[in-house]
Symmetry: C2
Subunit: 427 residues, 2 copies
């Protein structure tokens, strides 16, 4: 008997899932012996459902799915953490297996949801919540489990990666890049979730939880977006052989989990530096496997639906074989989160100062007094101008020492740009 | 009760597996509830076993593993297709599950082995047979199954990729690159399996079988190696914006499966063009997911052991849960293999000719007479030299037309280099 699917949410991803089921149902049975049937589709917009040929399977009441004893798997594609949370928790409580693409939900209420799934003996899968169609959660939960993962990091937000790619290629400003991304439909009218790094923060919380076997929530992630990036800094990065990317970074350290999202300079030779436009990529370092990278489209109807339907088919396979959930919550450890003050990395810092004797010396003294050792200093000015840029790259230093130094430098009389540019550098 | 492992072969990969088990056994239990135990290790070399702390688990008779009723999983890491075939088939017949890293075995006797596993209700996994530690077989069998895959292609031989990288970087010859690779231990004394493309052919046979749901064996793969590549051609490629890589290519076409291994020019902007040194990467295009790529170390003790142990742990998980093999043979279709004559692609061709009037015209006429349309022609010569190079790039053409044209051109009186350089171009 076919495994019956109830789908909630008929937007971009939901529509893609419906299309895949209706087009490839027979292939799944022929190639893999997996027999699925789209039983019910819930949406607030009947026209969306009709556009994908849902027909009589339509309902506008999600309880028609939750209360249908024949439905085995619920796909939640509403997004957000309020109504989606109700759908997911009610579905699990009603004994349904659940597939979701909802990063915010999993990064915020992951523990509650995993616990509820376990209590009910049901499976919850969420491959599409990170990296769109890129298989990354499944490899971390299966292929790579012989490894102790030390780093998981990546470009997990296509909107900002598109903007940064355009800023690098054309020298355009942040504002112009945002406008272009909005015109192309890559960025929302309110772009905050993307450009302020919250979307990436949710994704790295999910990846870090799995990679390090310890719960990381979105609130644990130190987050900086790309609003303050200037063409000057991107240009300076290129001169030094770096690309600027909004990286989501998770490191296992002796002092806990270092997890953060911020613009980062990476060497142009690094695999991640060549991930451009709306593409995503996740880089994983394990003690046995060494360096691996998973690359693909991070968003869009087809890619996200590929991931959702991969989960659905896997779940249907388990249901048909009568096996329980293969992998439940893997957060068996309870590692501390490392405060941002304690991280150690290299820093690019740019000040604008008055072009007067002694400025360079007094800035250098502040760095030295705080134990920050400099790797390079460049002074850039226009002939005859009264202001010059000072560009510093430090050796590895503690974030706390850098912040203390910056606070002092900002008080120096000839420093004009009171909010200096600061970009962390990963080599 | 712990799932008991018998391991056959204590070379590089076998040693890596033993190290992982002995170091991380407790972690697997804690994080995933997977309880494995290394019960027996078979090797012809006791000192290798001793070096990894195998102790009393050592035997030099593989029947001690096959006949031990307590052993659940046999890991075959001998390589080759003779004794390894005996170990794998005997183990399956004795009711053991099997994990192997053996590409030649799976690409040659895959059907026999899959059938035997099915007959005995046992699982055979072989992630390490392609791409070392890179998860690629598992994603194709799980995460990506909602897709119809149209292309799977990649750099799956680290030795030749190292050599090509060095030839590009330094302009060195094939012979010098081979010598360097041999000195570094990347290439064997008899390098044929790598440089003639056989290793890559086995790997693309495996990938194509899974991606296209139809059996492809190593003999189905049209194979050319890198022996004839010259610095002149690599240099010409760079001038035109291409990198030269030994690609293993599988395409689903309306006329069957197009599967081949040969040096290929790819645009320097393509993700695969930036995969250098001994690294591997596999590129997959699916109808839903679009373009994805999986990157990592294609060989070595740790990476290969990561893949082998990922399979072992997954299998142990299934055994503990009492579930049968999740995925058996997926070759449910029977697609024809497309003859190499029928493929259509672009070609780079180089002749050396006497610098006389009329040569260019007569070569151009032969191409035209065979329906081959030219994209670009470059004549390269030294001032005063009597010989010049003619470099052609064609538009898409049938391989058969190209070969016919080349046969005619080789008979022209002023064509000196009787074996022209021919490199296929993928855009």
């Amino acid at each position: 008997m076919a495994v019956k699917i109830g789908l909630v949410g008929t937007g971009t991803v939901g529509g893609g899932c419906i299309d895949i089921i209706l087009a490839h149902q027979a292939d799944f049975k022929k190639h893999y012996g997996i027999d699925i049937e789209l039983a019910r589709v819930c949406s607030l917009d009947r026209s969306e459902s009709d556009a994908h040929g849902v027909g009589d399977r339509f309902t506008d009441n999600f309880n028609d799915i939750i209360n249908d004893p024949d439905i085995d798997i619920v796909i939640e594609l509403i997004g957000g953490t309020t109504f989606a949370r109700t759908v997911v928790t009610n579905a699990l409580s009603a004994g349904k297996h659940v597939v979701t693409a909802n990063k915010a939900l999993m990064a915020t209420y992951g523990e509650e949801i995993m616990d509820l799934a376990k209590k009910n003996g049901r499976e919850i899968l969420f491959e599409a919540s990170v990296g769109g169609g890129i298989p990354i959660i499944d490899p971390l939960k299966h292929s790579l489990i012989a490894n102790e993962i030390s780093t998981v990091m990546g470009i997990v937000n296509g909107t900002t990666n598109y903007m940064l790619t355009r800023m690098v290629e054309t020298g355009m400003s942040y504002d112009d890049a945002l406008k272009e991304a909005q015109d192309l439909g890559y960025a929302e009218f309110d772009p905050s979730a993307d450009v302020d790094g919250h979307d990436a923060a949710a994704k790295i919380a999910i990846l870090a939880s799995i990679a390090f076997n310890s719960r990381v929530t979105i609130d644990d992630v130190y987050t900086e977006g790309i609003r303050n990036l200037t063409p000057t800094d991107i240009d300076a990065a290129a001169d030094m052989g770096y690309a600027v990317k909004l990286l989501a970074i998770g490191n296992r350290t002796a002092n806990g989990i270092d997890v953060r999202v911020h613009p980062t300079m990476i060497p142009v030779k690094h695999q991640l530096a060549n991930v451009n436009g709306v593409m995503n990529a996740i880089y994983v370092i394990g003690d046995a496997v060494g360096e691996t990278m998973f690359f693909g489209a991070g968003a869009g109807s087809g890619p996200a639906a590929s991931a959702v339907m991969g989960d659905v088919l896997e779940m249907a396979r388990h249901i048909q074989m009568g096996t329980g959930p293969l992998v439940g919550c893997t957060c068996t450890d309870d590692l501390p989160i490392m405060p941002i003050d304690e991280i150690e990395t290299k820093y690019y810092i740019r000040f604008t100062v008055k072009d007067r004797p002694g400025v360079l010396a007094s800035v250098a003294r502040v760095f030295a007094d705080n134990g920050v050792s400099l790797y390079s200093v460049v002074q850039r000015g226009q002939a005859g101008a009264e202001e010059v840029d000072l560009l510093y790259v430090t050796h590895e230093a503690k974030e706390k020492a850098i912040r203390t130094a910056l606070a002092y430098i900002q008080e120096l009389p000839d420093v004009l740009l009171k909010e200096p540019s600061l970009i962390r550098v990963e080599d």
